[in-house]
Amino acid sequence: MKSMHLFRTSILAFGLALGSLVGAPAMAADKPVVILNNAEPVSLDPMFTQADANVILSIHETLFRLDNAGEVVPAVAESIKMIDPLNWEIKIRPGLVFHNGEPVNADAVVFTFDRAKKLFAAGQGDLTFALGALKYDHMEKVDDLTVKLVMTVPDPIITSHMVNPELSILPPKYYSENSPEKVAFAPVGVGGYKFVSYKPGEGLVLKAFDKYRLGKPPVEDVIVKAVPEVATRISELKAGSADLMVGVPADLKADLESAGANVIVAPSYRRLFIAIKQGRHPALADVRVRQAMNYAVNCEEIANVLLGGMAQCSIDLVNSPYQDTALKPYAYNPEKAKELLTAAGWVPGPDGIRVKDGVRLSLNFDTTNGSYLMDKEIAQVMADSWKEVGIEIADLRVVDNAVSAQMRAKQGAGYRDLMNSSSGPDYTCQGDLLLVAKDSGSNRMSWADDKFEQMFKAFNEEFDQAKWKEMCNAAQAYVAEQAPVIWMFTEPTFYGVSKRLNYEARADGRVYFNLVLKGLKG
C-alpha cells in the first residue's frame, strides 16, 4: 500500500516537473513570440483576403504604407510624382529583394497591378475594396526602377489607396510559376517577416527577414495562432503560453494585469457600426426606419457601462482629424423612434411588433463573438432596445470570426439584415467615405444614394485641399442623417501583452509585427 502511494506520488511529481519544463520555454527570452488571432487566415495571398491585413502586411509591403503614427510614407516606392491628374510616375526603392531572392523592380510592380486587374475581372479574389478605391487603368514600366500608373479618374489621394494590403508587391516569378493553391498559404513578400510554415490549428510560423528595408525586425521568431474564444486567449496569456492578444474585454483588464500581463489601452481608428443591409427587408430602405433604429439604441450606456467609458459615441463615418466633431450622434430617444416608425407606416401589431401591409418588422442579426469589443453582448443589448420600440430580431446568430469576414465581403453579400462591422483608417476623408460609396468594396450595406454619389464624385475630383474640409463636413452631415448604419464609436484597442515583450501600439490599432514588436526584455 505504501509502495503504491509512493508510486503515485512519484508519478505526480514527475508530471509536475514535466509540466513546468513544458511551460517554462514560453517565458524564455529566445523563444518565439506567440500572437493570438481570433481566426485562422482566410488566405495568405494578399489579393484573396481583406480580413488578414495584420499578417499580410507583416509579410508583404505595398508601394506606400502607414507608419505607426498614421502617416502615409513611401515603402516599396521611393517617391511619386503627378504627371497630370490621370498619370503618375512612381520611383521604386533600389536594392530591395523578395524573401526568395527575386529583385523588387518595375516588373514586379507591373506584375502585381496586372494580376489584381485580371483577378478582379475574373471575379476572383477579394479585390472589390482595393480596386474600388484605386481606379487605375494599368501600370506600365518606364525603366527598371520606374513605373507609370495610369488612372481612369483623377484621384488626389492616390497614395492612401496604395496602402491597401491587397496591392502588396509580389515576386512575379514565384507567383506565376506556382499554382494559386500553393501560393495561397506559402507567401513570398518583401516585408519584415518571411513565411516558414502554416498548419491550421498549429499556427503560422514567421521569421525575421534580414534584408528588410527598415532593417531586421528585433523579434526573430513569431508564431501566429488562431484562438477564436476571447476566454481562451486570455487563459493562454495568463498561463504564459502567449505574448500578445488584441481585444481584452474592459472588465478583465485588472484580472489580466494581476496575472502578470500588461494591458495596453490605446485609441484606434477602427470605427464600429452595425451595417444595415439593403435589398432584403423593405423597411430598411426607408430612412425613417433607419433613423428610428439609431434613436432606439442607447449608445451612451453601452459605451459608458459595457465598455467602461473607454469609447465615445459619435457619427463615426470619418476618422480624426477629418471627423466633424460638431456633428451630434443620435441621442437615445425611444419615443422619437416610435414616432418615426409610425410615420413610416409601421404600426404595432397584436404582439407589439410593428407591421405594415402584412409584413412584420422582423429582422435577422448576424454578430461576431470576439472580433470587436463586446460584440456579441452589444448585439444583444441592441436587440433588446429595438424590441422596446417594436422591432423584432427574429434570429440573432453568432457567426465564426473567419466566416464573418467572408459574409461582409462583396458589399455584404453574405449576411442577412444586420451585422456588426467596422471600417479601418484611410487617413483621408475621401477614403473613409468609401464606406458608403455605391461601387466601393467597403460599402457592406449595398447602400446607394444619388445625392451622396454626386457629392462624393465632386469631392474626389477636387485637388484644391482648401475645399476639402467643407466638402467632407457636408458629406458627413448628409450621410449621418441618412443613417445607412447604426452609428457607434471608434473602438479603443485593449492589447494584452506578456511581460517579456516590448510593444508599441499603432495609432490605427493595427498589429503589423515588424512595426509593433519592439523586442524582448532581458
Binding site: 474564444e229 476566454a231 453582448e377 436587440a383 440573432l396 446568430r397
Partner: protein, 315 residues
C-alpha cells in the same frame, strides 16, 4: 396463413422460463402500487427524484417563480455579485451576468430549455427508433438489412459532431436543436428494440396471435410493443440526460440556442471569460447541469433495476 418459425419449439421452451416476457396487462396496477415504496427504499434514487422534481417544477413554473425577467437587460446592474454575498439578500440572489440579467432567473428558465430539449428530442428519437426496431426486428430480411445499414452509417459519425455540423448549417434555435438531437439519437433505440423483437417474435404468445390470424400490425403494436417498453423507458431516461448535456455542449459552442435565450450551456460559455472575476456566472450553471444529469442517470439506473423482473425482489 401465417407461417410458424421452425425454431419455434425452442422459443416456446424458453418462454416458459420464470423471467420470460408475458403478455401485457398482467402487472401495471400492482407495479404502480410498489413504485413509490421501492423508490423510497433507495436513498440515492430518492434524492435524485427530489432534484429532478425541483428541476421539473422550475421548468414548468418558470414564469411564476422566476424573480425577474430573464431576458431583461439592465446594463447598470451588470456583474453584481450574488445577493447572499454582499448583503443584498434576495435581490439578485445568484448575482447578475455581463448584461445585468438575473442569474437565478436565467437558471430557472434554463431548466425549461434543458428539459424541453431533453424530453422532446427523446420523443422524436424514441419514436423513430421504436418504429425502425419493430419493423426491422419483426420483418427481418431486406427491411432489416436496410435499416441496420442506416444504423451503421449513423453510428459511424460521432453524434455531437454530426449535430454540430447540422446546427452550423441550419443555424441556432430551440426547434432546430430538438430536431437535430432527435434525428441523431434514434439508433440505440432501434438497435435495442430490434434485438428485443427478435427474441420475442417467436414467443408463445406471438405465435398464438399469429395462429389466430391476427394482422401483423396488431401483433407488432398490441402484443410485442407492450413487452419491450421496459428497455425503451430505461434508454429514454439515459437519453434525456445525454440530450441535456448535448444541448449544453452545443450552446456552449455557440450553435445551440441563440445567445439571448437562457440556457445552461450558453451561461457557461458567456461566464467562462469572467471566471476569474465573477465565478457566479459559471458555478450555478455548471451545478445545474451536473446535478440534473446525475439525478436523471441515477433515476435511470434505479428504473432499470426496478423494471428488471430478475431484480424485483431485491429492490
Amino acid at each position: 396463413m401465417t407461417e410458424i418459425d421452425p425454431t419455434s419449439e425452442n422459443q416456446l421452451a424458453a418462454s416458459s422460463a420464470p423471467d420470460a416476457p408475458q403478455p401485457a396487462a398482467t402487472t401495471p396496477a400492482s407495479r404502480s402500487n410498489r413504485f413509490l415504496p421501492r423508490l423510497l427504499r433507495s436513498k440515492a434514487a430518492t434524492i435524485s427524484a427530489v432534484i429532478f422534481l425541483v428541476v421539473l417544477v422550475a421548468a414548468v413554473a418558470a414564469p411564476w417563480i422566476s424573480p425577474t425577467d430573464p431576458f431583461a437587460i439592465k446594463l447598470i446592474q451588470r456583474l453584481k455579485p450574488p445577493g447572499y454575498m454582499n448583503g443584498a439578500g434576495t435581490t439578485f440572489w445568484l448575482g447578475t451576468d455581463a448584461l445585468g440579467r438575473d442569474v437565478l432567473s436565467r437558471i430557472i428558465y434554463g431548466a425549461r430549455v434543458s428539459l424541453t430539449v431533453g424530453l422532446s428530442a427523446v420523443v422524436i428519437s424514441g419514436t423513430i427508433g421504436l418504429l425502425v426496431g419493430l419493423l426491422s426486428g419483426y420483418f427481418g430480411g431486406l427491411i432489416d438489412d436496410i435499416f441496420m445499414r442506416i444504423c451503421d452509417v449513423q453510428l459511424s459519425f460521432p453524434t455531437i459532431l454530426l449535430a454540430l455540423t447540422i446546427m452550423a448549417v441550419l443555424g441556432s434555435g430551440l426547434d432546430k436543436l430538438i430536431l437535430v438531437l432527435g434525428l441523431t439519437g434514434w439508433v440505440q433505440y432501434g438497435r435495442i428494440v430490434r434485438s428485443q423483437v427478435l427474441s420475442l417474435k417467436n414467443d408463445e404468445f406471438v405465435l398464438a396471435a399469429r395462429a389466430t390470424g391476427e394482422r401483423q400490425w396488431r401483433i407488432i403494436f398490441q402484443h410485442i410493443l407492450p413487452n419491450i417498453w421496459s428497455p425503451v423507458i430505461v434508454i429514454a431516461s439515459f437519453t434525456v440526460a445525454s440530450n441535456i448535456v448535448a444541448e449544453a455542449s452545443l450552446s456552449f459552442l455557440g450553435v445551440g440556442v441563440p445567445p439571448s435565450v437562457p440556457s445552461w450551456g450558453t451561461m457557461l460559455a458567456d461566464g467562462r471569460q469572467y471566471i476569474g472575476v465573477a465565478d457566479w456566472l459559471t458555478i450555478p450553471a455548471g451545478l445545474a447541469i451536473s446535478l440534473t444529469v446525475l439525478s436523471i442517470n441515477i433515476l435511470g439506473d434505479w428504473l432499470r433495476d426496478y423494471l428488471d423482473p430478475r431484480l424485483k425482489n431485491l429492490l
